[in-house]
């Protein structure tokens, strides 16, 4: 079996072996019409009908019938992970990188509880995924059966919706609803819990082409009167600002947003989730805002007089203390697909509920028709002010250091990959440095856990991205602490020959914890030192990958060039960069402080 598996892994990454899947015999599943199908067949056929490429999963008792049907088909590929959390993360990353629904399959009980972190991560970042979970047979539900857990109850607070299928006749429609709900409106994860007896019950199968739900009809078009008011307000602005979040990326509206910004000549800032929604190398882009945002972005956000917020939600890491933010008078236009995100933390003057792409397209048309133009003199004065803020050069760091600076590694990664890589990250200092120093010009290139802040996502995220884009350069920027949270996936990468490049910024600390302890806890580094680290080079090698340890700044670029060279294109490279243990992320807005009250590197 392992030999066959390896061949299949290579085949589907190089894209040559669609049909040499091990034992993947074809049957009526492909084109025929079953009069009757088992629940397991229905699950598999629904997934295939949705055009799913990959299902990330892990088998177990309650899903064995489904796995048996997966064995018999070759319309989609199953990727066997080493822990259910990684299955959901990989499906989530696939969705982030492609815009299509990611799919994961796990067994009941511990399969579900392991998946919960992945589901909650996707929920916080509004990522469309469908997670099919096994459940004990219906007569056993509530009997404390082996591997039983109340899946619908345990996942309810971290899903967009969930279903427990109690009758095989409802299964196909439920699967259709799951994909529909996950991918429309404000996207999010949907769980379909399928008891084992449902997987062998039979019914006539027909996959519905579409589904109507009287209780679920997300708004698409923006309100025309509100959009007119918004355009008028933008044209009257003297110190305008455009603030964009993950909604611009998820709503595939980066092109419209960029067009709007260019037409108006207004400054743009992105949230952590919005990186790539407007090109970072564009002069109008002020970089990320928020707790670790740039000086110019945060100052402009605080002092603007008209703010256009698009697909963003004014969260605590973005605007800091809301009372401090509200001290400055400004009029706010807020475009979002989710009405509950509007006027939640900050009062808004012009709310526009709708799909961001549709709304921006309509606003562009209105702007083009408008006779007025923005006040050029006022805008010039505003840009002059912004350039003064930008001149602070808030992202400067010591380039003469004899120890590797983490920022330098990210900058060099940008050079080596020509700014065109897909970059995943874990959570902590390295995540912030990746966000600050890798200039994302395109959407869906930056894959990270923004809302939940889940350490351990980086490696499984990179797997999902690389499978979605086999020819792309995929880098996972991580730390020595985060990478250990899902390190078992090096084995999955071996099985499927997933040639990602892991950039570990190894400072032997949980860096962000250490930074907070230094600033706010009198440098008492309680349990943040990462002792007893493995030899990452040998660890990578033991999985059949390539390991590199880089200790000097002068070796950084050469090592990166080698890792991304054509010779190693097919290989996973694990790079262990020994970085400065004392480096901190700047600028920083302390929790509870105002957005313009930043600590800058030079002030320490």
């Amino acid at each position: 079996m392992p030999a066959v598996q390896r061949v299949s892994g290579r085949a589907f990454l190089t894209g040559t072996g669609q049909n040499d899947y091990p034992l993947g015999f074809t049957n009526e599943l492909i084109s025929g019409h079953f009069m009757e199908a088992t629940g397991a067949e229905i699950v598999v056929r629904c997934i295939a009908e949705e055009g799913v490429e990959f299902v990330f999963g892990y088998p177990g008792g309650a899903v064995l019938n489904i796995y048996d049907e997966i064995f018999k088909q070759n319309r989609f590929k199953h990727v066997l992970v080493r822990h259910e959390q990684a299955a959901v993360h990989a499906a989530d990353a696939y969705a982030r990188a492609t815009g299509r629904v990611g799919v994961a399959l796990v067994t009941s009980g511990p399969g579900v509880t392991n998946a919960v972190t992945g589901i909650a991560t996707a929920y916080m970042d509004s990522i469309p995924i469908v997670v099919v979970t096994g459940q004990v047979p219906t007569p056993a539900i509530g009997m404390d059966a082996f591997q039983e857990v109340d899946t619908v109850g345990i996942t309810r607070p971290c899903v967009k919706h969930n279903f427990l299928v109690k009758d095989v006749k409802d299964l196909a429609a439920t699967m259709k609803k799951a994909f529909h709900i996950a991918s429309t409106g404000r996207p999010g994860p949907v769980v379909v819990d399928v008891p084992k007896d449902i997987t062998y019950h039979k019914t006539e199968f027909e996959y519905p082409a579409s589904i109507e739900m009287r209780s679920y009809n997300p708004v698409v078009k923006g309100h025309s009167g509100q959009m007119k008011r918004a355009v008028q307000m933008l044209l009257e602005a003297r110190r305008p600002m455009i603030y964009i979040g993950g909604g611009v990326v998820l709503g595939n509206a980066a092109a419209q947003l960029t067009e709007l910004a260019t037409l108006l000549g207004f400054p743009v800032t992105n949230t952590l989730m919005g990186l790539g929604g407007h090109p970072a190398t564009d002069r109008q882009n002020l970089g990320m805002l928020g707790m670790h945002g740039t000086y110019e972005a945060n100052m402009a956000m605080q002092h603007c007089d008209v703010l256009l917020a698009v697909g963003a939600r004014f969260d605590d890491r973005v605007i800091g203390n809301p009372a401090h933010f509200a001290r400055e008078q400004r009029r706010i236009i807020h475009v979002d697909i989710d009405p509950s995100s509007i006027s939640k933390r900050v009062k808004v003057d012009v709310p526009i509920v709708g799909d961001v792409k549709s709304v921006l397209t309509d606003m562009l048309a209105l702007l083009r028709q408008a006779k007025e133009k923005p006040d050029a003199a006022a805008l010039n004065a505003w840009w002059t002010q912004i350039e003064l803020w930008r001149a602070k050069n808030c992202l400067k760091y010591n380039r003469q250091s004899p120890i590797i600076k983490p920022q330098y590694v990210v900058e060099k990664l940008w050079d080596v990959t020509k700014g065109d890589a897909f970059v995943t990250s874990d959570v902590g200092q390295h995540q912030m440095w990746a966000a600050q120093y890798y200039k994302f010009d395109k959407p869906r290139r930056w894959i990270n856990s923004g809302g939940l802040g889940t350490m351990g996502v980086g490696l499984p995220y990179a797997m999902g991205v690389q499978l979605a884009h086999p020819e792309a350069q995929v880098a996972c920027i991580t730390g020595e602490s985060s990478i250990q949270m899902c390190i078992q996936e090096l084995s999955t990468c071996k099985q499927y020959r997933i040639p990602i490049k892991i950039i570990t910024l190894n400072n032997r600390y949980m860096g962000m914890v250490r930074q907070w302890q230094e600033f706010f806890y009198g440098s008492r580094y309680a349990e943040s030192y990462m002792e007893s680290l493995p030899d990452f080079v040998k660890l990578a090698e033991s999985y059949g990958h390539i390991g590199m340890r880089i200790e000097k700044p002068e070796d950084v670029e050469a090592a990166l060039r080698e890792a991304f060279s054509p010779a190693l294109k097919e290989r996973l490279v694990f790079m262990d960069f020994q970085t400065d243990q004392t480096e901190n992320v700047f600028p920083m807005v302390e929790g509870g402080k105002g957005l313009s009250e930043m600590i800058l590197a030079e002030e320490l």
Binding site: P157, K166, S215, D338, P339, S340, S343
Partner: protein
């Protein structure tokens, strides 16, 4: 932001699905919203449930509550009854001691509140009362608390006046 807290009666129509109630209850606990009372039952259309929630919050919180309720996939319609003219009713059953001179007094008080005595023993009455929550509160204040054996209240149900209605 507006911080004056007021009592609101929120009425919602939702799919009569297993777990629908727990989605609403879970939303209130997860987001730390108050629930004073919650009642739910199927409507004349058995696929629909009608729920009445009494909650207290500032205008901003009530706005969030209605938005978050609307976001639940099973919820079809949400209406804040207190935004317009409406009728509110609650049913209460009170079991009281009814002995000696107090027995006649208890009957008189129940009559004043248009209560009905629906169960009688030689030492107790069980009184049925309907009305607004504040009327039921007033009755409980009017009788000697030492006489109360137990009280059961349904929580408020509400409906809009006149043409104002909540339909799927």
């Amino acid at each position: 932001m507006n911080n004056n807290h007021h009592r609101h009666i929120i009425s919602l129509l939702m799919e009569n699905e297993a777990g629908a109630l727990s989605r609403v209850a879970g939303l209130f606990s997860a987001r730390a919203y108050n629930i004073e009372s919650l009642t739910v039952a199927p409507t004349e259309d058995a696929t629909l449930s009608r729920m009445t929630i009494v909650t207290v919050g500032s205008e901003d919180i009530i706005e969030q509550i209605t938005k978050q309720l609307n976001k639940l996939i099973d919820v079809i319609k949400v209406m804040d009854l207190t935004e317009g003219r409406h009728i509110e009713r609650e049913l209460m059953l009170v079991k009281v001691k009814a002995v000696g001179a107090g027995r006649e007094e208890m009957k008189r008080t129940a009559d004043i509140f248009r209560g009905r005595i629906i169960d009688v023993t030689d030492s107790t009455y069980t009184i049925e009362l309907t009305g607004t929550g504040s009327k039921l509160d007033a009755f409980l204040e009017a009788i000697d608390p030492a006489f109360i054996i137990e009280t059961v209240r349904t929580g408020a149900s509400g409906i809009g006046r006149g043409e104002r209605s909540l339909k799927a």
